[in-house]
Each structure stands twice: as structure tokens, then as C-alpha cells.
């Protein structure tokens, strides 16, 4: 067997810890850790999906939380009409996310830099206000999901441990998927366009279309994470897709390290843990958090990932 690098050990350690967490919880009886870990894993999926466009494609979307909201409402709204079939709900979550990413991407991806940031934020706020204004689904007050997605007898999400493992396996699946994508021909084009878009066009790549496809994939994956989030929280509201939520996702990616596959998982983990610890101390914990992020950006440019040595895969 190949000897593992520091990065390899950290990755393996975190994944094993997450895999064994329910055992720890059932021994100690501390249900709270399961709740925390489920949230962590779901947000890690969202952060990893954001990193596909932000890190590998340098498309800094400030509206990625919209897909979390879309995915959650794709569970909540059918459930409101007593449609609990998980395949239908997840189908809607991914389908609507793909459509939303495609249509907004057509506009957003014609811009660059700050304009791109602003316009992605604007589109996500449009979704936010759309859900605020729909009284039927609770408007501002949100919607309670009383029954989790149903996948037949063999997979009962009402059991918290089962839901956790579904989320965990989903994270593994998404990580593997993105790993394949990043190294594929498609991934090469996306990373080439990040480095030098003009040159990619002069080589003959229609970079706009490749970026659009990448943007849609990231949206679909985050929509899926949103469906998991809807199941997990049982209470959904437009607040989930507020622009500050999108900002938190960017936090996680930057904290963990952009353009490293596993970095955003570490970023999401650290974010959730710090939030949990600091908010117990002080109401204005975000202040400390902000200072911490500034220090990371200043002194560890590649995020946590850069402390793990040179990344051979960048």
C-alpha cells in the first residue's frame, strides 16, 4: 500500500471519525453530537459543490445557498400536499436546481469578478423573496416538514442514524464524483479557463458553455444537499437562502482551502465546531469568527488545506 501523506491521514481520519460517530453516540447517549454531525455533513456537501465552481472554476458565486433552499422546499412543498416519496422529492430538488442554475447561469456567466458576485447574489435573493411572499407555504414563517422523505421499507429516514448515514454516504459519493470530474477532460477545460480564459478560447474551447455546464452541476449537487437539509431540520424557511447563508458557504470553502477536494469538508467542519463553541460563550460570536477568518486569509492563503503540505493535485 502507498504510504499516506499528512493530507491523506487527515482525510482518512476525518472520514473514519464521521463513519464511526453514531457508534460513539449510541455508547455515550449524546444525541446532540449526531445532530451536529448531520448538519456538518450536509453543509460539507454544499461547500464541496460550491468549491467545484469557486475553487476549480473561479466562479465566485454569492448565491449558492439558494440551492439549499430550493432543495429543502422541494421536500417541504410536496410534503405539504402529502407527497412523501423521496425519489420524487429529490427528483424535484435536482430538476429545479438544474433549471435555476441553467437560466441564471446564462446571465451570470456573461459577467466576471465583482459583477458575477453581485448578480449571483441578486438571483438568490429573488428566490428568497419569492418564498417570503408565498403565504401558502408559510411565507416568512417557513414550513414544518412533519414526515421525512420515504424510500420504501428498507430505508427509513425517520431514524436519525439512518438519515445521518444517508448524508454521510452522499458526501462520499459527491466527493468521488467531483474527484472524477476535476481530473476528466471536462475538468481540465474548467481549470484551464480559470487560469487563462482567452487562451482557452484561442485553442478552440467555447468556455462559456463549459462553465455553464459546471455551474449547473454544482447547483444540482447543492440542490441535493438542500433536500437532505430539509429532511434534517424538519423546519424550513426562506432564511435558509439568505445571502448571509451563501456567505457562510464561501467562508467554509475559503477556510478549508479552495481548489482542494477535501478542504471544504474541513472548512465546514471547523465552521460548525467554532460556531457551536463560540456561540456558547458570547452572543456576538461572529465577531471573533470574522477576526479568525481574516487571520486565515492573511496567514494561510490556501486555508486549512495549505497546512497539510503541498497538494500534488492542487
Amino acid at each position: 500500500m502507498k504510504s499516506l501523506t499528512v493530507r491523506g491521514w487527515v482525510t482518512l481520519g476525518v472520514l473514519v471519525a464521521l463513519a464511526l460517530l453514531p457508534v460513539f453516540v449510541s455508547v455515550t447517549g449524546r444525541e446532540f453530537f449526531l445532530v451536529l454531525a448531520t448538519r456538518l455533513v450536509i453543509l460539507a456537501i454544499a461547500a464541496v459543490s460550491l468549491n467545484l465552481i469557486l475553487g476549480y472554476g473561479r466562479m465566485i458565486s454569492f448565491g449558492h445557498a439558494a440551492y439549499l433552499g430550493i432543495g429543502a422546499y422541494a421536500v417541504g412543498i410536496p410534503a405539504y400536499y402529502e407527497i412523501y416519496n423521496g425519489f420524487i422529492q429529490i427528483g424535484i430538488a435536482i430538476g429545479v436546481s438544474v433549471a435555476f442554475a441553467f437560466l441564471t447561469g446564462l446571465v451570470c456567466l456573461r459577467t466576471r469578478g465583482v459583477n458575477f458576485i453581485m448578480i449571483t447574489m441578486a438571483f438568490s435573493m429573488m428566490v428568497f423573496f419569492a418564498f417570503v411572499s408565498i403565504e401558502e407555504y408559510g411565507g416568512d414563517d417557513g414550513l414544518v416538514i412533519e414526515v421525512r422523505s420515504e424510500f420504501g421499507r428498507w430505508l427509513n429516514l425517520e431514524n436519525d442514524t439512518v438519515l445521518y448515514y444517508v448524508c454521510f454516504v452522499s458526501l462520499l459519493g459527491v466527493l468521488y464524483l467531483i474527484r472524477r470530474i476535476v481530473h476528466s477532460r471536462f475538468g481540465m477545460v474548467i481549470q484551464g479557463a480559470r487560469g487563462n480564459e482567452g487562451r482557452m478560447q484561442s485553442l478552440g474551447f467555447d468556455t462559456f458553455r463549459y462553465r455553464l455546464v459546471c455551474y449547473v452541476i454544482a447547483g444540482a449537487l447543492c440542490g441535493y444537499a438542500g433536500a437532505l437539509l430539509g429532511n434534517f431540520t424538519s423546519f424550513i424557511s426562506p432564511e435558509m437562502m439568505d445571502w448571509t447563508r451563501s456567505g457562510e458557504l464561501i467562508f467554509m470553502v475559503v477556510l478549508g482551502g479552495t481548489s482542494s477536494l477535501f478542504g471544504p469538508v474541513l472548512g465546514a467542519g471547523l465552521f460548525i465546531l467554532l460556531e457551536e463553541i463560540l456561540s456558547g460563550f458570547w452572543l456576538y460570536w461572529q465577531l471573533i469568527f470574522g477576526i479568525f477568518l481574516i487571520l486565515v486569509v492573511l496567514f494561510a492563503k490556501g486555508g486549512i488545506d495549505s497546512w497539510l503540505g503541498r497538494n500534488p493535485e492542487r
Binding site: R180, I181, H183, S184, R185, F186, G187, M188, V189, Q191, G192, G195, N196, G198, R199, M200, Q201, S202, L203, G204, F205, D206, T207, Y210, V213, R314
Partner: protein, 255 residues
């Protein structure tokens, strides 16, 4: 050198604000010739290359490549007709390896890249032609290095490898020896010499040694127009060319 026209430019105009960069330029390039475009700074040489490759769209005029009007075709489609370009200011993907840069060039010509699963860098259909191009320019020892930190001369070699990897009919070389020392420059010229006769080359170059060593025909541009086109001998003898541009530089080059 064939006699058929591969690229035909007619009455091209382009201005940026008030500055006229191309002012009624007409030019025919013959198949398999090395056609040098020379002229003083600001004569509009790079703007010409940019218009033919589609980075800049002309205000008026027509560009025909292999009997096809490409005047307004998007830049990313033109390489698929068989043209490729190297840049005056090195334009590579800095954070990728040398091999990955060239693999991308091969990939551009190998059909669509909406392939999401198999790793590109393990695909012989991409890496073999890429390594061939790198060998051709003498850069294969650096294949696995990150491209950014390499020397200027190596960047120029990589530029050329990326052009060759796409196996184009028509090659634009925008000052391939720009910023090179004498030795690197001579090596580049002998590398370009090996291309002669197999492809059409449009060479924009300041180095008169390189131009007279390589060109089958030369076009002299001044203020956005072609004032003369002909074989090196004709251009040498042309009085208006001497007056407009070549002067001292020309005389030393001839000697």
C-alpha cells in the same frame, strides 16, 4: 509552396476610439508559404492577427479562410477550421504543468470535452500527441513541471508546442522570438525552419535575421496598411519600404 490562396483579407478596417489600427488592409496568404508581416511598432500587426483569429472583430472588410467567410465567426470556432496562434506576450496556463497545457491543446481538437469520468492526463490519445509536440520543441524534460515558474525561453517553446499540438493548417506566430537572447532566438528560428513547407505560417516578427531566414514572402505594414508584398529580394530592393521603415535596420540585416 502551393499557389492557392488559403487566407484572403480584403479592405479591413478597425479603429479603437480615435486610433485607426487597421486602415484598408488587403492581403493574400498562399498555401504552405511562410509569410512574414513586418512593420514599425504600432503598424497594426498584432491587431491584424487578433482580427483573423477572432479576438477582435473588424469594423469593415472581409476575412476569407479556405473559401469560407470567417469575418464574424466567434474566436473559439476558428481553431476548428485549422488555425492556431502563438502570442506575443506568453499566454499559457500558469498553474498547470507543461504537459497539461499541451494536453489541453490536443484536447481542443479531439472532439468535445464533455467527458466527465476518465482522467484526461492518463489518456494516451491526448498525452501521446502532446509529448510528440513537446519533443519537437525540445521541452519534454520539463513535461511534469508547473509551467508558470519556467524561464522565458521555455515559455516560448511551450507556446509553440501548444500551437503544433493542434496540428493546424495555418499558424500565426506573433513575435516567437520576443524577449529572447541570441542563442534561444537562433534555436527558435531553426525550430521554425523545420516547419517550412508543411504548414502555412504567418510570422509577425521584429527580428530581421529571423524574417529573412524564414520568409517566402514578406508584407510590410505601415499605419494599418500593407505598403508592399513580395519575396525577400523584392522587399529588400523596394525603395518605399526602405524609406518607410527598414532603413538602418534593413541595411544591417542584408549584410
Amino acid at each position: 509552396m502551393g499557389e492557392s490562396v488559403i487566407l484572403s483579407i480584403k479592405d479591413l478596417y478597425k479603429s479603437f476610439g480615435g486610433v485607426v489600427a487597421t486602415n484598408g488592409l488587403s492581403l493574400d496568404v498562399l498555401e504552405r508559404e511562410v509569410h512574414a508581416v513586418i512593420g514599425p511598432n504600432g503598424a497594426g500587426k498584432t491587431t491584424l492577427v487578433s482580427q483573423v483569429t477572432g479576438v477582435v472583430l473588424p469594423d469593415a472588410g472581409q476575412i476569407v479562410f479556405r473559401d469560407r467567410d470567417i469575418t464574424r465567426m466567434p474566436a473559439y470556432r476558428r481553431p476548428h477550421l485549422g488555425m492556431a496562434r502563438s502570442f506575443q506576450i506568453t499566454s499559457i496556463i500558469q498553474d498547470m504543468t507543461v504537459l497539461e497545457n499541451v494536453v489541453l491543446a490536443v484536447q481542443a481538437k479531439a472532439g468535445h470535452s464533455y467527458r466527465f469520468w476518465e482522467p484526461a492526463i492518463a489518456d494516451d490519445q491526448l498525452t501521446e500527441p502532446a509529448m510528440r509536440a513537446l519533443t519537437q520543441v525540445g521541452l519534454e524534460p520539463e513535461a511534469m513541471q508547473i509551467a508558470g515558474p519556467l524561464s522565458h525561453g521555455e515559455h516560448r517553446q511551450l507556446e509553440l508546442a501548444m500551437v503544433l499540438a493542434t496540428d493546424p493548417e495555418l499558424v500565426f506566430l506573433d513575435e516567437p522570438t520576443a524577449g529572447m537572447g541570441r542563442e534561444d532566438s537562433a534555436r527558435m528560428v531553426s525550430m521554425l525552419e523545420s516547419l517550412k513547407g508543411s504548414r502555412t505560417v504567418i510570422l509577425v516578427e521584429h527580428d530581421m535575421d529571423a524574417v529573412f531566414a524564414l520568409a517566402d514572402r514578406i508584407t510590410v505594414m505601415v499605419e494599418g496598411r500593407a505598403i508592399a508584398t513580395g519575396t525577400p529580394d523584392v522587399i529588400r530592393a523596394d525603395r518605399s519600404v526602405r524609406e518607410a521603415y527598414l532603413g538602418e535596420d534593413m541595411n544591417t540585416a542584408i549584410e
